[in-house]
């Protein structure tokens, strides 16, 4: 019974923890501008993140070491540094966007300006990381994030024209959408980047060490990923559908978090709005914790410092200092008046650019018998891994030209 409850908790946490500010904003922007013609990208992105998350979780559980430690050891300091630099900078951008997302969500709930909430959000993130146990922070934010299921309920409450939505899924653009091909592909890459954000993989891998996984836990880890992440992806699709049903016909292209909320209000009124706001805060707060921890994990694992929440802060001082500095940088950027939604939009595209540097090393390490013994990737996993590396490479190369040609999707 305890094992079943543990499994259920893991899956629910994976669902609730899947969506972050990148998914909230990008899914809604895409739904409001392209209808459901880009939903296929979310599906591809979810398959990709499932593939690489279970790969990095397996590496951690089998070798007992986290991804960055092995990447540096196996591929050398130079490749390891390229991997670190790309992941760390993207992570810092994502961290800034998530802290800004918490402030915007609290503004929606209170009406107070986000500049008042930004320091509160950053301090709250630091306090939770400092004081709360890893399993508690992961489970509580993940479970509260399930409040975003309200978007899936809203889809049905809105009584959409299912035939029209089906037609959009078959890549027939809705009549209200007059976007160019360049803009379409720019947002395809943004959506792909938001689904495959590197921090998710590093957090998953380091979390496996924090929770002392062994090869015995691989079954549960696989269920968490293969059931939880796709269901989390359904939440992203629901957000896109609500925007496609309510905002697209009124030609409202989403540019702020407040607009993401309007379809839920139309579907379920004040109660639904309150539940959605709880989901916004939980999703952004959970992701802010994960990105803050990931900044500490990546640097500490590369340089071989003592790390982990399972150690007392005094025993992992540089790990904690890195996280504090990361939060202060994010705080500083946001206090200049930078728009968190714009930071989010850029972070998902730059994330797509850096993806090969993150995922290629994981694929190499997961095939190394020295670390993995007989638990190296199977043929199917390797085939899928190679297919995704090609997709990732194309997305990475095309991102900057498409950004310039589409004026960042405007």
């Amino acid at each position: 019974m305890k094992a079943v409850l543990g499994l259920a908790l893991g899956v629910l946490t994976a669902i609730g923890g899947f969506v972050d500010i990148g998914d909230l904003v990008t899914s809604s922007v895409v739904g409001s501008r392209f209808g459901l013609t880009l939903v296929w990208v979310i599906v591809v992105g979810v398959v990709g993140i499932c593939l690489f998350a279970q790969m990095s979780g397996r590496v951690a559980a089998v070798s007992g070491r986290a991804t960055f430690e092995i990447i540096r050891e196996r591929l050398g300091a130079r490749v390891g540094f390229a991997n670190l630099a790309a992941s760390f900078l993207i992570n810092l951008m994502t961290l800034t966007a998530e802290v800004g997302g918490i402030a915007l969500s609290l503004q929606l709930a209170s009406g107070l300006q986000p500049v008042l909430w930004i320091p509160v959000a950053a301090i709250a993130v630091w306090l939770v990381i400092w004081r709360v146990k890893f399993s508690v922070l992961e489970n509580v934010t993940g479970l509260l994030g399930l409040a975003l299921v309200v978007f899936a309920v809203a889809v049905f409450l809105l009584h959409p024209d299912w035939a029209a939505l089906g037609s959009q899924l078959a890549l027939r653009p809705p009549p209200q959408s007059s976007e160019s091909a360049v803009t379409y592909w720019y947002f395809a890459i943004a959506l792909f980047g938001s689904a495959m954000t590197p921090y998710e993989v590093f957090f998953f891998s380091s979390g496996a060490i924090e929770e002392h996984w062994t090869p015995k836990d691989l079954g549960q880890s696989r269920v968490n990923v293969l059931v939880g992440f796709p269901l989390g992806g359904l939440l992203s699709i629901s957000i896109a559908v609500t925007a496609a049903v309510v905002l697209l016909p009124q030609m409202i292209a989403v540019t702020s978090l407040s607009q993401v909320l309007l379809p839920v209000a139309q579907a379920g009124g004040t109660i639904a709005v309150i539940i959605a706001l709880l989901g916004f805060v939980a999703a952004t707060f959970g992701a802010a914790l994960e990105t803050t921890l990931s900044s500490g994990y990546s640097l500490a694992q590369y340089f071989g410092w003592s790390w982990g929440k399972f150690r007392r802060p005094a025993q992992a001082a540089r790990f904690h200092l890195t996280m504090i500095i990361g939060l202060l940088i994010g705080l500083g950027v946001l206090l200049t008046g930078a728009d968190p939604v714009q930071i989010t939009e850029y972070s998902v595209v730059f994330s797509a650019i850096a993806l090969p540097l993150t995922y290629l090393p994981i694929l190499i390490v997961a095939n190394d018998h020295e670390y993995m013994g007989d638990r190296v990737n199977g043929r199917l996993t390797n085939l899928l891994g190679l297919v995704f590396l090609v997709i990732i490479l194309i997305a990475s190369i095309a991102a900057i030209p498409l950004m310039i040609l589409s004026a960042a999707g405007s």
């Binding site: 909320l261 030209p401 589409s406």
Partner: protein, 155 residues
């Protein structure tokens, strides 16, 4: 003088050529043309005005709490101000200058209506006024969309 290895120089050259090609083709992209930029501003302003109309309607039907509504209207106000600033600084002449004038005029109407909408959400006006403001916001959004289409048609 220390020179970079040939392979490194080749890589930098390739990156430079790709970047140059992107910037060169970006010049031909419609989003960077003056009429494209005006059309973009009209489209953005229309979306913000329509957002305000939807927000006000949801408040009137008691589906959206006041803090969320005030935030949505505040966001729309800020974006409209950015659009107005972009339009004012756009370097256009001839028929495009006339088009800019028409868009700015509608945009200012939208800004005035947003002030009224925020007052309504703040409870500083009678409930009967809400429907009228919603309709005027929708009409303004429609007019801005029409101007956007005209600009797109004229290229």
């Amino acid at each position: 003088m220390i020179r970079a290895p040939r392979s490194v120089r080749r890589r930098w050259l390739a990156c430079g050529l790709v970047a140059a090609a992107c910037f060169a083709t970006a010049g031909c992209s419609p989003v960077y043309s003056p009429s494209g930029q005006l059309a973009q501003s009209a489209s953005d302003a229309s979306a913000q005005t329509q957002t305000a109309a939807l927000t006000l309607h949801l408040v009137a039907t008691q589906q959206l709490p006041a803090p969320a509504a005030q935030t949505a209207l505040s966001d729309a106000t800020d974006k409209l101000a950015q659009d107005a600033s972009a339009l004012t600084s756009a370097d256009v002449s001839g028929h495009l200058a006339a088009a800019r004038g028409r868009i700015l005029s509608r945009l200012r109407t939208g800004q005035d209506l947003l002030i009224q909408a925020r007052a309504l959400v703040g409870g500083q006006a009678g409930p009967g006024a809400t429907d009228a403001v919603v309709q005027r916001l929708q009409a303004t959004a429609k007019a801005l969309t029409a101007l956007e289409k005209q600009l797109q048609a004229s290229g």
